[in-house]
């Protein structure tokens, strides 16, 4: 089954380039059209109703995010394509969406297309984009929802409801305030970076802790964090200083 794809980028070069790469490396992708701006893109999407949109974020007048906001329901998959946009990428990661960096790596492109194909085949409603738009509309909010995807479903959890995370190979266990435990098929490292601005601190190579829920720092075993729910989290020697600093910052805030 072919998936129908639309390319949106303000640079003709990039459109040409993506077109070439898709044709060359991604069989089963039919390019239904391309647009040089967000406004043209909206019209194109409405006209061709694509399965997938490869969307540049930075465009004149309206950005790729603006394009998404103009749809009430997003019935298509999105892969973002960007040269350099830290804030945009943060937002995308928070919603567990896919993105490609320019210049586009062929393997990344193939992988992203494959995943999109799977989701399209499952005909899941794309809640991730809803989450992204929510994140973008309240960028300063203290506790955005983060998408926690696993094979079966995606949970959207408020950041301040996460107590701590524990790594298990390439998976991550999320322990929530309400006692729920969610297994996510991504590495702890990704979440450590993503959640750092929200008061999360790596205490150990396998542990990430929301410092707001720390009750005390115990001396046992060379340092252990006691959380408010009684959980004890080990602190490795290399993280001890950072944990102390983070703890005092959290207490002062």
């Amino acid at each position: 089954m072919n998936i129908r794809c639309v390319l949106i980028d303000d640079e003709v070069n990039n459109l040409e380039n993506l077109q070439y790469l898709l044709q060359q490396y991604c069989p089963g992708v039919e390019i239904a059209g391309s647009a040089g701006s967000a406004v043209e893109g909206i019209q194109l999407i409405k006209a061709v109703n694509p399965d997938l949109v490869l969307l540049d974020i930075q465009m004149p007048a309206k950005s790729g995010f603006d394009l998404l906001k103009s749809f009430d329901t997003v019935s298509f998959e999105v892969i973002f394509v960007t040269a350099y946009d830290q804030y945009g990428i943060q937002a995308i990661k928070f919603s567990a969406l896919d993105y490609l960096l320019k210049p586009v790596d062929v393997d990344d492109l193939k992988q992203a297309i494959d995943k999109a194909k799977q989701r399209i085949a499952l005909k899941q409603q794309n809640s991730n984009i809803t989450n992204l738009i929510a994140y973008l509309q309240k960028p300063q909010q203290e506790s955005p929802r983060i998408a926690l995807p696993n094979l079966l479903q995606t949970h959207y959890v408020k950041v301040n409801e996460i107590l701590h995370c524990e790594a298990s190979d390439n998976y991550t266990h999320f322990f929530l305030k309400n006692g729920e435990k969610i297994l996510v098929s991504r590495t702890l490292k990704e979440y450590a970076e993503l959640l750092k601005p929200y008061g999360f601190q790596r205490t150990h190579q396998s542990h990430l802790v929301n410092m707001h829920y720390v009750k005390s720092l115990l001396k046992e075993d060379g340092g252990t964090l006691l959380l408010q729910d009684g959980t004890k989290i080990p602190i490795s020697r290399q993280h001890l200083e950072a944990v102390k600093t983070s703890l005092s910052n959290t207490l002062n805030s």
Partner: protein, 577 residues
């Protein structure tokens, strides 16, 4: 009669009075004058071997002995007896007279000995050194109270031979002047250094005569006798002797008090201080009125509040404490006065204020230091942000450029890809080189801009003009590196990209002392109020704000004009040239 050592007069009086003289002729110890003539001699006592003056008493029935005493063969503890002067004055007073010793007066080189005669009796004066052979060489005179010359300088009045003398000597007279003082001086007209004198003092009142009391305070002094200036330390004075009757002063207000007396030669007065304080009663011998008539009472002796009395009396072997012979000057030391207390408080307060000021100074210094540090930190962070802004603008362009190269490769446009890659390398190198620089020359900046525009021209296909005012010397003018980069990128992406007949003009102009960098495009323009043209402009604004924080006088100004027919963005560098 005794030998009386005159040297160290005070000590002599105290220590030697009463010592039995070495002479056989001496009668039993008595402090009355006795039947003698007293001669001033200089001798050495074999026991001490110190040469010093003595009074040598010679019996008034064997006056000739005075010459025997001077004979080296004469057996005595005193050796080498010589008269004070060749005149050899001999004094005979009432044999029953007591307390006749007094001080020594000085006349240039000669000490004149003085005698107190308190019983109004006569004084007989002879000169054993003046005889038939030399009496014409001598003159004598008699002066009363150091003022009236009773007998002017005259020849020796007569020679006589009595009192057991075996040859004639000069008789200078029998004197009596109750209540007064008489000085007799004799000198050799051929040699003035041969002279001798004696002072008889018939005064009965031997108390010192007070002239004035000088009170010294910190930085001031005054005569106590003047109530207008004496700070109320005394108001009543004895009309006869001038002694203050209500002398009082606060403790520690006075540094010292000088009691000045009428200068006189014939008496020596000791000073005692009687104090009545909370420590009890005490009597201290403080010293003597000096030869000039002064006694200085130091405040050390009257620190304690209480009643005090200075007692002046004639120095003698046994202080008589006879009221008629004492001059008493009472005074009272009051507790430290209110003014002094307030003075103390003022000092204390001043001290506290000083300490507080000092602490405040420290505090402000600290605050200031902190402020300076904070400003430094702000500057530092501004620098850091500036760098990060720079690094933000570079990657954005870089990855887009790389993406373009990727496209050229995929399109098999090998020539273009090469050219593009080359330009990109030049730009990247410039960016790396300039990332550490605050300023680069306008020339270099223009080279980078040219390179960049060439690259973008390949991507978007527009025309451009890069222009520099001929009046400018681009090699000498410095500008912050890549200042125009985001604006030009803006013009390229938003102004002309993908459209036909689009043109970009970048120029540097001189306007007075200002440098203007202008980026102009003929695109569709944008609404400045909405300010949503995105990244590039925001970066430029941020960077200019940061530059203005770093450079004094905030020299950078960004001006945007945009309409349907194009956009002109001007960065003015104020007073830059």
């Amino acid at each position: 009669m005794m030998i009386f050592y005159r040297k160290y007069f005070i000590v002599c009086i105290i220590a030697f009075m009463g010592i039995i003289g070495p002479l056989k002729a001496q009668p039993a110890v008595s402090d009355s004058f006795g039947h003698y003539f007293l001669f001033n001699m200089i001798t050495t006592d074999k026991r001490y071997m110190v040469r010093e003056p003595v009074y040598l008493p010679i019996s008034d029935t064997a006056l000739n002995q005075v010459f025997d005493e001077m004979n080296p063969a004469h057996n005595s503890t005193l050796i080498n007896i010589r008269p004070l002067s060749p005149v050899m004055l001999g004094v005979k007073l009432n044999p029953n007279l007591r307390h006749f010793y007094s001080t020594i007066a000085q006349s240039i080189s000669q000490p004149y000995y003085t005698f107190l005669i308190q019983d109004s009796s006569d004084a007989i004066l002879v000169a054993m050194g003046i005889n038939l052979t030399n009496y014409r060489d001598f003159l004598y005179h008699v002066v009363e109270n150091d003022s009236t010359e009773l007998i002017p300088w005259s020849p020796i009045p007569k020679l006589e031979q009595s009192y057991g003398a075996d040859k004639p000597y000069a008789f200078l007279g029998k004197f009596n002047a109750p209540g007064k003082q008489i000085m007799v001086e004799v000198y050799n007209t051929k040699n003035y250094s041969i002279r001798e004198g004696v002072i008889f003092d018939w005064r009965n009142d031997l108390k010192p005569v007070l002239s004035q009391i000088i009170v010294e305070l910190k930085g001031a002094y005054f005569n106590l006798a003047y109530p207008a200036i004496n700070r109320g330390y005394a108001s009543r004075f004895n009309r006869i002797n001038g002694v203050p009757e209500d002398f009082r002063f606060p403790a520690d207000s006075v540094r010292n008090i000088t009691f000045q007396f009428k200068k006189q030669e014939t008496l020596l007065h000791s000073v005692h201080l009687i104090s009545q304080t909370k420590k009890g009663q005490d009597t201290l011998m403080l010293g003597f009125i000096d030869q000039h008539g002064y006694f200085v009472l130091d405040r050390e002796y009257c620190r304690q509040p209480g009643r005090y009395e200075l007692v002046f009396q004639r120095q003698q072997k046994y202080p008589s404490w006879e009221e008629s012979q004492l001059l008493r000057i009472p005074f009272e030391v009051l507790p430290a006065s209110a003014r002094d207390i307030s003075m103390k408080y003022v000092l204390l307060l001043a001290g506290i204020v000083l300490v507080v000021l000092f602490l405040l100074m420290l505090f402000f210094q600290r605050v200031n230091k902190r402020r300076v540090r904070r400003i430094a930190q702000q500057k530092e962070s501004a620098q850091l942000k500036l760098k990060s802004v720079r690094s933000q603008l570079n990657p954005h362009f870089m990855f887009n450029a790389l993406s373009s190269i990727q496209n050229l490769m995929n399109k098999q446009a090998t020539d273009d890809a090469n050219r593009y890659l080359n330009r990109f390398a030049i730009l990247t190198r410039a960016a790396l080189d300039n990332s550490e620089k605050d300023m680069i020359s306008l020339e270099d900046e223009w080279r980078i801009v040219d390179n960049y525009l060439q690259m973008e021209q390949l991507r978007f296909g527009f025309s451009y003009t890069l222009y520099s005012d001929p009046a400018l010397h681009p090699a000498d003018i410095e500008v912050p590196p890549m200042l125009l980069q985001p604006l030009i990128e803006n013009a390229v992406k938003h102004g002309v990209a993908g459209k036909k007949d689009r043109h970009i003009t970048v120029q540097a102009k001189q306007s007075g002392h200002d440098l203007q960098l202008i980026v102009e495009d003929n695109g569709e323009g944008f609404d400045i109020a909405k300010n949503n043209t995105g990244f590039g402009l925001k970066l430029s604004q941020e960077r200019i704000e940061l530059l203005n924080e770093l450079y004094p006088g905030k020299p950078f100004r960004l001006n945007i004009q945009s309409s349907g027919t194009g956009t002109i963005i001007t960065i003015t560098l104020n007073k830059w040239i």
